[in-house]
Each structure stands twice: as C-alpha cells, then as structure tokens.
Amino acid sequence: MKESVSGEVTRLRLVTNEVKEAPLLQASNLVKHFPMKSGYFGEQTYVKAVSDLSLTIYQGETYGLVGESGCGKSTTGRMILRLLEPTSGSVHYRGKEVTRFSEEELRNIRKEMQIIFQDPYSALNPRKKIGKAIQEPMSIYNIGDPKQHKEAVLELLRKVGLQPEHYDRYPHEFSGGQRQRIVLARALAVHPAFIVCDEPVSALDVSIQSQILNLLEQLQEDFQLTYLFIAHDLSVVRHISDRVGVMYLGHLVEEAPTDALFSEPLHPYTRALLSAVPEPNPKKRRERIVLSGDVPSPINLPSGCVFHPRCPQAIESCKREVPILREFAKHHRVACHLV
C-alpha cells in the first residue's frame, strides 16, 4: 500500500512540475565529435558520438536514457556534467549556462551534480577506508562542521543500508552491491540535487539489482533528487523512469513519458528494441522485429535518417533527409519521416 502511494506522489510531482517550474537542466543541441587519425596518411576523421541532442530534465523526475552500446548515452551524461567538453551546444542548470563556467564555478556546481558509474570496483580507491572515502568530499567542499563529519558519514551509511562497523573497512571487503551503496553514499555526501546514474545496476546480479533500484527510489524521495538514469536494460529503465529518451547512433530518436513510450512506441527503432527484449514468460513468446545487420560506424554516419539502413520501413526520403525531432503527441517527440 505504502509503495503505491509513493509511486503516485512521484507522478503527481512530475505533472505539477511540468506546469509550474522551470526545468532543472536543459541541454541544447549538444554535439560531441572525437577526433581520430585514420588511413595511411593519418587523415583527420571524427567519431560522431553525439549529434545535435537536446533534452530537458525537470526537478524531481527520473529521466531514463536508453540505447545500445555506442549510441552516445554515456557521452551525453558526461557532457551534461562537463566531464567531457561538448564540441558545440550548451547545458543550462537552473538557468545558468554550465558550458560557460570557469573552473572555479564548475567546481562549485559539482556539489549539486554528481555521477555514479557502472563499475563500483574501479570507482573506489582500494587503499582508502570507506569512511574516509565518503568523508573526503565533505572536507573538500567544507560542508558542515569537520567535527561532525564522522557522524554525517555514519548517517549516510545507514541511509544506504550499510552498518556503522563498515566505516573502517576497505573496498575489497565488500560485494558489488555493497560497493554500489558506498558509491551512492559518497555521491550524497555533498548534498547533490542531480545525479547522473550511468548503468548503476548492470554489473549486479538480479537479486542485488532490485535492492539497489529500490534504494535509488528511496533516496530520491528522502533527498528530493533528480536522476538522469542511463541504461541499456529497457525493463529496468521502464521501472525507474518517469520519462524516457531513446538514442540511436548519437541521435535522440524518441522521447516520451514512460507509459506512452512503452505502450505506443512510434519510432521503428524503439519498436524493434522493445520487441527484442526477452520476456520472462514462456507463454508470451512474441513476434520479434529482428533488425538486420549491425549498428553502422559512427565515423561514417549514414545519410538522411541514421537508422535507414536497418529500418524495415525505410522509404526513399529517409536516405536523403534528416528527420527532425518533433512533438507528435503531448510530450511525445519522435524523429521519423513516417510518423
């Protein structure tokens, strides 16, 4: 009973936010090209990781970003935090342009914007006790009274479901799920408002994955967090997100509120992606849309719509014209000529 009520609350909050509040974060026309040398004469080419991507994230919501490996979802997450410099485009956080911040301003804003990664093994210093690791951001940012830091760390440990006696232990003494909890506690140490979760559960076992997903939801409620949730697992994204964006080869091809996206996917790629998810129900072996071929190289993007070489419905104009992401239904944006 309690769970469903909190679920309602999240959704209500989302609806009111969209009406009343300015967006928390706005990325406009983000582009990232990684330079690389190729060919015998070292010709300069570019890996076009992200192309002209715009998205808006509202206070208190979870925005899920899905796509297959190499589609540019992690690059997008990193550009939003300016861990990677965008080639062009801008990111606004609470109305301020992050992409123009000086080093100093950037350091300050990082208090509010945190990130957690897929691999909790490489995200923790093996030689640092976890109490110290969680406390460190507090000293760096002068948060609270240093004498009370230990108290604060113990409180955070409790919040993420760990014990006070874990304070003096080293990362190798913990399992993957526990490490992900430690990483979360460390991110929360600076009281962030926005967290990029980059594949936070994909390295975890099924039974541990659900523990961490529930924890993420609980923390969102307790600390009024906003998440950008990057993942390739569609069932997980559907479970946790309020709105979902689908990426393919650096392009945002569809964006909609979660229920709309999963019940009425409009882009042919989204449809194929959804139909490819194996369902844990042997009675419902569905008709799959099996896409032919592989994802093309991001060095030589296909002309027109980037999906056209694999699209079962492609027509002539798809090869020539780049489809623009436009609003098809309320809050439901699609980039496809056929919709």
Partner: protein, 336 residues
C-alpha cells in the same frame, strides 16, 4: 534420446582458505534436440558445471572432480586426455560469454575456424577454408569470403559472437554448451543470435545447454530449466511449469525481483534479502535458509533433498507444499 547424463557431480577447488565445493552433487540430463537452461547468480556453480563436463581445468590446478558424466555411452570423467581431445570441439563444443578473450587476436577468424575442421574432420586446408566460408554465411555474416580473412579486432561484438558460434558448430557437435552467449550483446543483436541458435538446432538436431542469468532468455528459448544456488540444483522443471508454478522460494524470489517490460509500474521491486554466502561458509541446513522468508528451525538445521514435487518437477525445499505463486501478473506468495 539422452545425450548427456550427469550423476552426482562434485567439483572441488583448493584455495588459500581451504577446499571449497563449487558444484555439490549436481545431477541432470540433456536430450538430443533439447535446450536445457542452467540459471543462477554469479558464484552458483553454473559455469563450473559446464567446465567440469569438458574437464577444462588446468592439470595442476588441484581441481577434484567426482561423480559420473555420460556422454552417449562414454564416461567422460574416466576418459583419457586424448579421448577428451577427440570429444571437445567435435562432439561437444562450447561458446563462451566474452568473444574477445576467447578468440586469438593474432590469427584471422578463418584460420581459427578451419583449425578445428582440419584437426577433427581431417579436411585439407582448401576444404576447410571453403567449409569455413560456408559456416560464416550460415551464421549470418555478410560477405563471408572477405570476413574470413579479418582479425577479431576488425569485427563488432555481435560479429565476433557469430564467429564463436560458427567455430562451435563447424564440426556439427551433438551437444553445444553455451555459457552466457548473449550477455555481452545488445538486445537487438541478442535477438538475432538466439534466433540463429534455434534455427541451427533444428537443422542439426543438437542438444543445447544454455547457461544464463537472464530469465527472459530462458523463457524464450529453453525447454527445461535447472535453477542453481550455491553449488546445488534447487529446482528443475519444464519451462512452462517453472514460470507458472515455481516451487522453490529462490526461484520465486528471482522471478519477482526482475522488472518486466509490461508489468505494473510504480511499485517497489521484490527483494531477496542479504547476499549469496561465500562457499567457505555454507549454511548448515538449507543453503537458502538465511535469505528465505519461509525458513524455520528445520530449514536452518536439516538440508533438504531435491525431491519430485509433481511429474518431472523437482524442488529442494522442506515447505514446497505451501509455497507457490498467485495467478495473474502479480506473483504473490500464498498460504504462508
């Protein structure tokens, strides 16, 4: 026809902290043309079981194998290494999760596939080369006559996994052991590979042992399923029975804790409390008892046996009679 029969398999490793039994008394069989799924979380012994069948352990690793493994009429655990060499890759072949580390980076893929053809099928170099191209086109690699000369790094992840499958199937094995064959792949590529394996199975009538942690994949391709926990099989049933009427609390817990693509949203996920204990600290009674919501005194002190709960449905639980799931999409444990 029974292709593979494993009886009371025990695999023991010696570690710094003493000996551990990674696989503890596992028995099952695989029929020709059948797909058997082996499901469980990391450390449950599913991969060790498959490595034990082919005896893929280093000579001096101190691994001890006990029990019996019959492949058709042949006992594998007592076979000589020469005899095993004959069987590996020829009659039983294996596909691993990570194609990048299972392919040799300094040989072309054609080279690697034709090697086993020349070795096992005694084909000439030219015949093997032609057969390799045929296999590459069979697994859906475009322009195979060009790709055959590629090195692994020139191929994408999906393509490499296809090469692994081509290599696994080139000698027309009777049994294919696929250890997480699609885990490293994206869903659209996974769908292609699973379809491909199914097609080839029909053509070649081979038995498949599919090792995975993904219940979705199990539901799509398996006929029968074995669920493993901490070195033991805790439940065995046909795929329909397992998903409709699971009897072991661990199986039920696993099913309930995965979010589905069309289930109810906005509810908290079910959680299996705690984590898998270390093999050095195996619980005294039922191995799942410390995490089980139904565990009582008996569970904590007496290990249950794997018993038949209904026709060809086995479970290892003292309380299987009062454990089950409710109807509909929402799986609920009833009659507690």
């Amino acid at each position: 026809m029974t292709l593979l029969k494993v009886k009371n398999l025990k695999t023991r490793f010696s570690t710094e902290l003493g000996e551990v039994t990674a696989v503890d008394g596992v028995s099952f069989h695989v029929n020709a043309g059948e797909t058997v799924g082996l499901v469980g979380e990391s450390g449950c012994g599913k991969s060790v079981t498959s490595l034990s069948i082919l005896r893929l352990f280093r000579k001096h690793s101190g691994t001890k194998l006990a029990g019996e493994i019959f492949f058709e009429q042949k006992e594998l655990l007592t076979s000589s290494m020469e005899e095993m060499q004959e069987i590996r890759g020829n009659q039983i072949s294996m596909i691993f999760q990570d194609p990048m580390s299972s392919l040799n980076p300094v040989y072309t893929v054609g080279n690697q596939i034709s090697e086993s053809l020349m070795l096992h099928q005694k084909l000439s170099k030219k015949e093997a080369y032609e057969k390799t191209i045929e296999m590459l086109s069979l697994v859906g690699i475009p322009s195979p006559e060009k790709r055959v000369n590629d090195y692994p790094h020139q191929l994408s992840g999906g393509m490499r996994q296809r090469v692994m499958i081509a290599m696994g199937l080139c000698c027309h094995p009777k049994l294919l052991i696929a250890d997480e064959p699609t885990t490293a792949l994206d869903v659209t590529i996974q769908a292609q590979i699973l379809d491909l394996m199914k097609d080839l199975q029909e053509q070649l009538q081979m038995g498949i042992m599919l090792i995975t942690h993904d219940l979705g994949v199990v539901a799509e391709v398996c006929d029968r399923v074995l669920v493993m926990y901490l070195g033991q099989i805790v439940e065995e049933a046909s795929v329909e029975t397992l998903f409709e009427n699971p009897k072991h609390p661990y199986t039920i817990g696993l099913m309930k804790s995965i979010p589905t693509i069309d289930g109810k949203r906005g509810e908290k996920l079910h959680v299996i409390e705690g984590m898998v204990p270390s093999l050095h600290q195996i619980p005294a009674g039922c191995r799942f008892a410390p995490r089980c919501p139904f565990a009582d005194e008996k569970c904590r002190s007496h290990p249950p046996d794997l018993i038949e709960v209904s026709h060809s449905h086995k479970a290892r639980c003292w309380h299987h009679e009062r454990i089950g799931i409710g109807g509909g999409n929402a799986i609920a444990i009833g009659n507690q």
